[in-house]
């Protein structure tokens, strides 16, 4: 699946959250969306993932622009995986039920199939003892790892993560990033909006640097960190790395 953003933009009221974004998702290697808060990272991620409809330009999937129809977008999203900053898990369902819900009702698996898949994912992320706990009984790090497990349940072609560790303390952040490294090693395409620059640097791939609602720079991650390519990037890195 090849995903391209062609001059795409999204407006909320009179305000453009992102404008004229043109990029192609690199397959098999991570795309890191970096940049100051409010710069448009989340919106671009949502546009690429079919959660928002472009107000200018288009998002193309294998050469065909995504239509503004919820049913088609839903089919597209079923091929993807998502992890958000918080509020991923349904509070009335156990960890295991959170993972089986999409498998059963979006991917039409049987109850037994879905449970087997959930158990193997929970085992992989060392969460099996917590299978029958509700989100409120779990730590923030455990919740995000379950959200990650849920996003992987149906073997998505691309995994989108919108600041998955921004609401966590450093210890839990490390816990989630370790799990994410593990996922990345298996060669799945990741699109990650993050402030975790240490992780970004280790991950490699491509950086899309967004500032003031525009794509300011696009290039190899190593290059971005070796020599900040723009004044905005230098300013951003200086702020992030100061503390």
């Amino acid at each position: 699946m090849q995903i391209k953003s062609i001059q795409a933009g999204k407006r909320y009221g009179d305000l453009w959250a992102v404008r004229q974004i043109t990029l192609t998702l690199p397959l098999g290697s991570p795309l890191l969306l970096l940049g100051p808060s409010g710069g448009g990272k989340s919106t671009l991620l949502r546009l690429l993932a079919g959660l928002e409809i472009a107000d200018e330009g288009s998002i193309q999937v294998d050469g065909i622009p995504l239509p503004p129809h919820e049913a088609t977008l839903r089919e597209y999203r079923r091929r993807l995986g998502f992890v958000f900053q918080e509020g991923n898990l349904f509070p009335h369902l156990t960890a295991e039920e959170n993972i089986t819900l999409p498998l059963r009702y979006a991917h039409h698996q049987s109850a037994a199939e879905a449970r087997d898949r959930a158990q193997s994912l929970l085992t992989r992320f060392q969460l099996l003892p917590h299978a029958h706990k509700k989100p409120a009984e779990l730590s923030g790090g455990q919740r995000q790892r379950i959200a990650l497990a849920r996003a992987l349940g149906h073997e998505p072609e691309i995994l989108f993560l919108d600041e998955p560790t921004s609401a966590l303390d450093p210890e839990m952040t490390a816990e989630v990033l370790d799990a994410l490294s593990d996922v990345q090693r298996e060669g799945r395409t990741l699109v990650l909006a993050t402030h975790a620059t240490g992780f970004a640097r280790r991950t490699g791939g491509t950086v899309a640097f967004l500032r003031n609602h525009q794509l300011e720079w696009l290039g190899p991650t190593a290059e971005f960190f070796a020599q900040p390519p723009t004044l905005g990037a230098a300013d951003y890195l200086a702020r992030i790395l100061r503390d």
Binding site: R74, E86, G87, H92, K134, A136
Partner: protein, 252 residues
């Protein structure tokens, strides 16, 4: 929220104290009335009273079964309906909630009901009451729906659930959990509201109690059992809802 659970013995002792205070107060009040109790006069009407109680139960159940789906429809239309339908539902709900039930019963039965040729008092009464309660239920449902965090709806879209699936697996269970106390309260109100149908001579239990009072002049002997007759219905409702609420709890 977690509260410390006191010792069972202390709980029992405290309950005993509360009950005796309350009982004592009423005992003194009734003593000072010097009422001449004439239970034998009303006892003769026990079958009629029981029949009225059964009518109330039947009327209440039918109203509940009609008003819950109707309330759900009203809430859904008000949240996501086509503009004219949304306006109609909003107007209807506000009109019903803003005027006395007594007036609604009289107008709907004697004017609208007559125009439609609806003469069965029990049926008409049930429909009028169902419409009234549906307006209140719709507000409870609407509030419960709007209280569900947007992040969960986004999450549900992201995992590829259809709106119908989201409604069934996310909105309904979460909304039910949030609105259960209000739903139970409204159901108890519904049972008591049905007493107003006595004005169009539906022979529910309040109407029967009024008749017994008229025949025997035993006012307290007619109305005290009436209070008990409603309590027998509403007390288990409160009890079982609380247990149901506990079973649905998912966070401390």
């Amino acid at each position: 929220m977690k509260t410390l659970r006191p010792h069972p013995l202390l709980t029992a002792l405290s309950l005993f104290l509360v009950l005796s205070l309350l009982g004592g107060f009423f005992a003194i009040a009734f003593q000072s009335l010097h009422w001449e109790w004439r239970w034998d006069a009303v006892w003769a009407y026990r079958e009629k009273f029981f029949y009225g109680w059964c009518t109330t139960l039947l009327l209440g159940s039918a109203t509940l079964l009609l008003s819950i789906p109707l309330g759900l429809v009203l809430a859904t239309e008000r949240i996501a309906g086509w503009l004219p339908i949304r306006q109609f539902c909003t107007l209807l709900v506000e009109l019903i909630r803003g005027t006395p039930l007594l007036v609604q019963i009289l107008v709907l039965f004697y004017i609208v009901g007559s125009a439609l040729g609806l003469q069965n008092r029990l049926l008409a009464g049930t429909l009028i009451l169902a419409l009234f309660e549906a307006a209140y239920f719709s507000e409870i449902f609407r509030g419960a729906w709007l209280s569900i965090p947007q992040s969960l709806i986004t999450s549900s879209r992201a995992i590829g659930l259809t709106p119908a699936c989201t409604f069934r697996h996310i909105i309904t269970p979460l909304g039910l959990r949030n609105s259960l106390p209000a739903l139970a309260g409204q159901t108890a109100s519904l049972l008591k509201d049905s007493s107003l149908l006595s004005v169009i001579a539906v022979t529910e239990v309040t109407h029967v109690a009024q008749e017994i009072n008229a025949f025997t002049y035993g006012t307290l002997e007619s109305y005290l059992p009436l209070a008990l007759a409603y309590l027998v219905l509403t007390a288990p409702l409160a009890f079982f809802t609380r247990r149901w609420e506990k079973s649905l709890a998912y966070a401390n």
